[in-house]
Symmetry: C2
Subunit: 341 residues, 2 copies
């Protein structure tokens, strides 16, 4: 804090440029040749490293900041995705300004405006509140993960393939009837693929099946009550049949397993069960739960790699406009544990 | 990107100052009166909001950035703490640059140096790698949470009180012998209070007790194996006695409950069990686990509020140096669920 501030005069003296030239460097760098910009940038480093970063940002907008917006950090999925994105610092050198949306659209918008004012170079969006059309209008390198993506670049889990893997395993486990338990999902959300993959696979194999779509709420108690109710329903409707349950996430799967296990003191032969996500709750359940593992490390890395490519293009003197959106799918992994054969 | 850049000439014309004065604003703002600084700052807003933020930072170092370093986001405790800190954006307006340390001291150091170069105004540290002595030497407003804090300001959970609450409940539950299961903890870490509080309370009440200190590892499998081994040990050493278990965190408590529940198909009367943290795993266990709830929202808010006070002091023309370190304790809350009476 007490370091002597360098003045334009100091920089001018050091570089043998006029003070006007130094002033132009900060105010209108493109009026200088690239060589002269570099000489001045180097002088700033030589004279006082601490000043350099902001001076460079101020001059050319290369802040090396990326904004991230996650909907929440309560779900392990988002916490782990954030973790994996932040871990790319070592590889790419970008620093991350992080915001938790909590479904407050207006505050999210305000935050993005602030980030743009700070000349962030790119954005990674995991929250669902702002439409991809609006996101595209910000005209900044941008990648979304697992959300509506019609007008923006995206990296998604191949949800359809995940559902095919889960459903096929339940069929191989000789289940008589298959049930997919999910909450309402819009068709333009990637995770809708879980519903489609389940239905297609059941039809293809001619297996009796049913979709159970409920809004189980967010609290543990609400989810538990919802799963209890579904359990009673299944017991009544499919007595004596072996039921294969494909649950849309591991939190639901854990709650359902607890309901069954408490009734029977174990997981009876009549039930087979698989979740989705490979979150810690699956591994730590009373019986380790089979699940479809999203490759969060790959999703995060691919998103950042794509964003870096887009940001590098923007830094060129004559950047090429992106002519086609990029949508990339990452195949999930079947993880067999103790709730399936 | 295509917005016309404002020049010093534009600002000079708008404010009726000379170009030299504008240049001094960016280069040596303290050579201007506060009033004139404000007139120019306002002009920058009026002329082009996008430029303003960085110009202001460049001029006076008020970046409104705070750096956060967490050790990992795998533990819910850190993810939720980060969440609560980020949520103070609405209240205080600070934006957060977030880094996950993963116990890599050198990269943590490098990251902090980068942050300082970007003129962050303050730091919140949750990771344990860098000593408080070194942190203090950075000479920047700084608050740590639940870690060694001899030379820096800190906000901590009152771990001792939490242990007293847990131990007292087990005594009221008429347990014959009390066991505290923990991993090795250094005495200068706040969470050492859990060990001390347990021992003092047991001695005060003249209750038979034992400390079981193990390094259970990090993976679910390792923890499960460790808890199985401790279970066999307890069964052998204290047959027929009612055992009250106080586990150092909910992850261990969940794992121990699973071991017991799988053996017996329920939680037998011979065991009473309480964890620490109130992480989701406690609520979602096969039986909801009693626990000591850390008030993460309060810890986060108090840390940020203290940091804001320190940062505001720094912004004054003649900041007062901090003469005494501030250490604040937040009392945790006893949460009674189904693993205690």
């Amino acid at each position: 804090m007490d370091k002597k501030k360098i003045t334009f005069a100091d920089i001018a003296k050091y570089t043998n440029f006029s003070k006007t030239t130094i002033s132009r460097y900060f105010n209108d760098p493109d009026s200088l040749t690239l060589e002269n910009q570099e000489i001045i940038a180097q002088a700033l480093i030589d004279l006082d490293y601490q000043e350099n970063k902001l001076a460079k940002v101020f001059a050319n907008g290369k802040s090396e900041f990326v904004g991230i917006i996650v909907p929440n950090l309560y779900l392990h999925y988002y916490a782990e995705m954030l973790n994996q994105i932040l871990n790319t610092y070592e590889k790419f050198g970008y620093k991350f300004l992080v915001f938790v949306g909590n479904h407050q659209k207006e505050i999210e918008r305000q935050y993005i405006q602030e980030l743009l004012a700070y000349k962030i170079e790119g954005l990674i969006i995991l929250s669902h509140t702002i439409s991809s059309e609006e996101l595209a209008s910000y005209n900044i390198p941008l990648v979304v993960i697992e959300r509506e993506d019609r007008h923006v670049n995206s990296i998604n889990t191949d949800n359809y393939m995940g559902a095919v893997q889960a459903t096929s395993l339940l069929i191989r486990n000789h289940c008589d009837v298959l049930l997919h338990i999910n909450s309402p999902v819009a068709k333009d959300i990637p995770s809708y693929g879980r519903i489609q993959g389940f239905q297609d696979t059941c039809r293809e194999h001619g297996v009796e099946h049913e979709m159970i779509i409920r809004n189980p709420g967010h609290s543990h108690k609400e989810i538990h009550a919802c799963m209890s109710e579904i359990y009673e329903y299944m017991e009544q409707k499919y007595p004596g049949l072996r039921k294969g349950l494909f649950l849309a996430n591991d939190t639901m799967a854990n709650s359902m397993l607890n309901v069954i296990f408490r009734k029977h003191g174990s997981l009876p032969d009549e039930y087979r069960l698989i979740g989705f996500d490979d979150s810690p709750v699956a591994d730590r359940a009373i019986l380790p739960i089979s699940t479809i593992g999203q490759q969060i490390d790959k999703l995060a890395y691919e998103a950042m790699e794509l964003l870096v490519t887009l940001m590098n293009e923007r830094k060129k003197r004559r950047p090429m406009p992106q002519t086609e959106l990029i949508h990339k799918n990452i195949t999930p992994v079947l993880i067999r544990r103790e709730t399936t054969d």
